[in-house]
Subunit: 575 residues, 2 copies
């Protein structure tokens, strides 16, 4: 039973499900449903898919997450960045038939689901740790900007394409003559009302109508629905499609289709790389949202179980006519604020969206695409935050380099290149830093048994004795450099020197290459008549050294503490 | 002038060139010339090139190294592993014309020369450090085995091809019916005599003829020349080519050609990757030989200047009808043992080889290819040393994994895959290790001011205070893990605990991701009413922390030493 509970958390919270939890979940579900309808349509548009696909992708994945997820508030469905990555993955395939394009998007979700489930089985949640916080922040900001610029075409009624800034801007510019004024006016109306609702509606409702702060905030958050209703009415009343305003048009009514999205092998193999990237980015985004919300209520989430839950969600999406999904920030926050108590809220939301898919879609015929584009832009611009560049620059040039590269490549080449470069450059910079370790010559802080850098602190030293504190694990990339540093230092005081102590308090590992370098140092010092000692070698490192021959060759001693070494050697052989 | 001397070391040693140095250099040159003739022919054969190309590649590169090199004993020319890599790089191009094949080999040398010069200009000698000692050892052993097996075809007179063990063995097996008995007999004679000369000739000469040990050793080392003369005479006397024994045949006589080896763009672009690998492997091999020999005479070599010298040598090789070259172990050792005093010895050797190229090559018509193959096998089997596997297994499983992967991939896929995998897996294992840092809970060693692991040492602790020593730099790959570890530990003693001290003696860097994690830890502990302190933060890390907002948010203190922290906090708030 423990095992079942572990993999199906619903058995845990489901057994203790209370009436108050039901009430909270139902309220939250109602609000989230209203908010999700425009959002799902908009993100389908962003991924290059028909509007109804967005709704399909919001139904079964929610149910799957309800069964497997550990977060009490996470809402799974299409999100901006993953939708952009979907468009970016499918574009190079050059699929002309919309049926094939939908199938390829479904296959992408299926592949991503399988990968996430596999990672969950292997408990590989830790891979998310290899995306550094600043790289994620830079990537999200650049993607948000890319998404916003990509929607400009719907605001001005021209066509454009491309998956990076230069492509989008070039195609926009070459079609700039096709600008449609009616589209621009409806876009301006939608944008202005959305921004106003986001920034001012809550406080207006609160101050003028004396509404409680929670209700006012919730109404403001479902604001896009008002913009949609308003522009649908305008579009219908003024017959805007006649004036060349792009509208959503006929949206098929009915339940999501259940089928395995079949694509040919060449498409499948081309999707494997993008599916892996989408899985990791989706997982990182989802887990960070879930962790943020869990911390507020002192809950905990299990990253490995989250992999399983997201995998099941994407599998469900792929099999029910959807596209890649993940836990989204805005929908989860609304769910949380509206009082969702358990994952069941997600299942109720799914029922609401199923209703929408069957009965509501005919009403969307007149919905201007400009309204959806405005919804997307207002949503993603809240993700854009260039302050990470300033923070990183002030704190560390290496972090800055990683963020700046991620942003630049995302904007100029595309999302996949951006993420890949971000991960790679972070790891390379880390390796580069560890390959050039800081080595400090240390002396005794007077009146203590503590040793610090002779250039930063006023410390005691002895001319017969040099102590070098090596500030890095010793491994192949820095082993030769350490040889050079030690031997250079020894040559500076060749006449008076009798002992070299390597203080190993910061040496967390010594690999075989470094062991050979230590043997070389020991040998060279021996040729010069200088003894080599080690101090403060940690337990795990000492265990390892005992497996080699180095300890039998070492000319000096190994001291438990640097103070022991100093006390014994300063009064040593010459006295 | 200092600048010229730095880039043209010849101006340094050339000005002080003495008669005794001249004598030493001339003797060494004579011996090395005799040894290099068979070796050059053999390595050309190994690279799939006509015999004379091996001699061309041994002339001008030696002169170029004389001008730019810093090692007094290094001899540059074709070597086994680089010749194998050359064959491996050219095979996939499917070149059928021998002229085009020679041009492609020359282009490979040219590209490698340009890359090495570029790395020298950028002072990138450090890249060699990213090849760990065990990976190099594994690679050399596997390459040696691959080379030896690849030569079996010449020993038994059948044709075979391939660049990994399965391919070579399969083609050998399918042609096994073509075995030529005369070839096998001449091969057996060559092999036996070469092995005997290598193992016993020196001691026989010394004991029976009372020869000085140095002379006896030198004669033994030029042993391959006797095998060549012997088998050429046999081959001519018995007219072995008539019996189907493969011989070298007509070798063009004359000076090396001077021209830019022109190949088309597709060939050029296919060679860029292999040229980079050849450059790095060649550089690592050459520098390690040079360093070994320099250490014996207390000389020093400059790795960055060595890049320039090897670059110039490869450029010279490419422009004079040769193929990629580097500093070879056996030729350099012979040069050193024979008494070479300065790089001028290389120039004299070049003159000797020039003479050979013009006058000696017609004598090689009857030279059996089996003899050259036997020379190669005897030379490379001395490189094969599987003991690295045992050493690595005993010392560290991570090192073992890197060596074993390198060896397996080199043997089963090929040299390029082997080296690439070796570097990658070493780096990934390092990152993996640092992403799972060791964290020790420490206490005071009685009677000292030193703190050690509570599970390894008998130490004093205080229930109000937990001190965790984090044994790794904090960065994105381990930041979240550290959050979990600290919070888990705190939850174990939630009631009594008042202070958490993170002892940072082994934390050599804190990146922006880890800084955010520290802020999270600080916040969570604050919610639990526990104060967070740091101790023994190093100078460079402290400098960095001052650039962020963390220090203003930290609930506790930063202590110079862990002992200060312990002394103050154990008698702290509760007392």
């Amino acid at each position: 039973m423990l095992c079942v509970k572990q993999h199906l958390p619903i058995f845990d919270w489901g057994q203790r499900y209370s009436k108050s939890e039901l009430a909270g979940d139902l309220t939250a579900a109602g609000i989230v449903t209203i908010m999700l309808i425009p959002q799902s349509l908009a993100y389908a548009l962003l991924a290059g898919l028909p509007a109804q696909v967005g709704i399909y992708a919001s139904i079964l994945p929610l149910v799957a997450y309800t069964l497997f997820g550990t977060s009490r508030a996470l809402a799974v469905g299409p999100v901006a960045v993953v939708s952009l990555m979907t468009a970016s993955a499918l574009a190079p395939l050059g699929i002309s038939s919309i049926t094939d394009y939908i199938a390829a998007a479904g296959m992408l979700a299926l592949l991503s689901g399988i990968m996430l489930l596999g990672m969950g089985l292997l408990r590989l949640g830790v891979v998310a740790n290899f995306l550094s916080h600043p790289v994620i922040a830079g990537f999200i900001t650049a993607s948000g900007l890319l998404i916003a610029v990509g929607q400009v075409k719907h605001l001005i009624g021209v066509s454009s394409s491309g998956h990076n800034l230069p492509e989008i801007i070039e195609t926009l510019w070459s079609n700039v003559g096709d600008i449609n004024l009616s589209t621009m006016m409806i876009a301006a109306f939608a944008l202005t009302s959305l921004v106003w609702m986001r920034q001012s509606l809550a406080s207006v409702l609160q101050e003028r109508l004396d509404m409680p702060i929670g209700l006012a905030g919730t109404i403001a958050r479902v604001g896009p629905v008002f913009a949609i209703v308003g522009t649908v009415l305008l579009s219908w009343g003024l017959d805007l499609p006649e004036l060349g305003v792009g509208v959503v048009g006929v949206v098929p009514t009915g339940l999501p289709p259940f089928s395995v999205p079949l694509t040919d092998w060449s498409v499948l193999s081309a999707l494997i790389g993008p599916a892996a990237l989408i899985s990791i980015i989706g997982f990182v985004e989802s887990v960070s949202v879930a962790q943020t919300l869990a911390a507020k209520r002192q809950h905990r989430i299990d990253p490995n179980q989250e992999l399983t839950a997201l995998g099941a969600s994407n599998l469900a999406s792929g099999l029910s006519g959807g596209f890649p999904v993940t836990g989204g920030f805005s929908r989860s926050v609304v769910n949380y604020d509206a009082g969702a108590q358990t994952p069941a809220a997600g299942a109720y939301t799914a029922i609401g969206l199923l209703f929408a898919a069957v009965y509501l879609t005919p009403l969307l015929y007149f919905l201007p695409k400009a309204t959806l584009a405005a919804t997307i832009i207002v949503a993603v611009l809240s993700l854009v935050d260039f302050s990470i560049l300033k923070t990183a620059w002030r704190y560390s040039k290496a972090d800055f380099a990683a963020v700046a590269t991620t942003m630049l490549l995302t904007l100029l080449v595309g999302v996949e290149a951006g993420v890949a470069a971000g991960v790679l450059i972070s790891l390379l910079l880390f390796i580069w830093k560890t390959s050039r370790p800081h080595v400090a010559e240390v002396g005794l802080v007077p009146g203590s048994q503590h040793f610090r850098n002779i250039y930063r602190h006023n410390v005691l030293t002895d001319p017969r004795l040099v102590t070098l504190r090596i500030d890095e694990s010793l491994y192949f990339a820095n082993a030769r450099r350490m040889e050079d540093l030690v031997l250079e230092r020894v040559h500076m005081d060749r006449d008076s020197l009798e002992h070299v102590v390597l203080m190993c308090s910061a040496v967390n590992d010594i690999d075989l290459s470094a062991l050979e370098s230590l043997e070389t140092i020991n040998q060279r010092l021996n040729d010069l008549g200088v003894l080599l000692h080690l101090s403060e070698v940690k337990g795990p490192v000492m265990d390892r050294l005992k497996c080699g021959h180095f300890l039998t060759k070492l000319t000096g001693e190994i001291y438990l503490s640097q103070y022991d070494a100093y006390s014994e050697l300063k009064g040593g052989t010459a006295s």
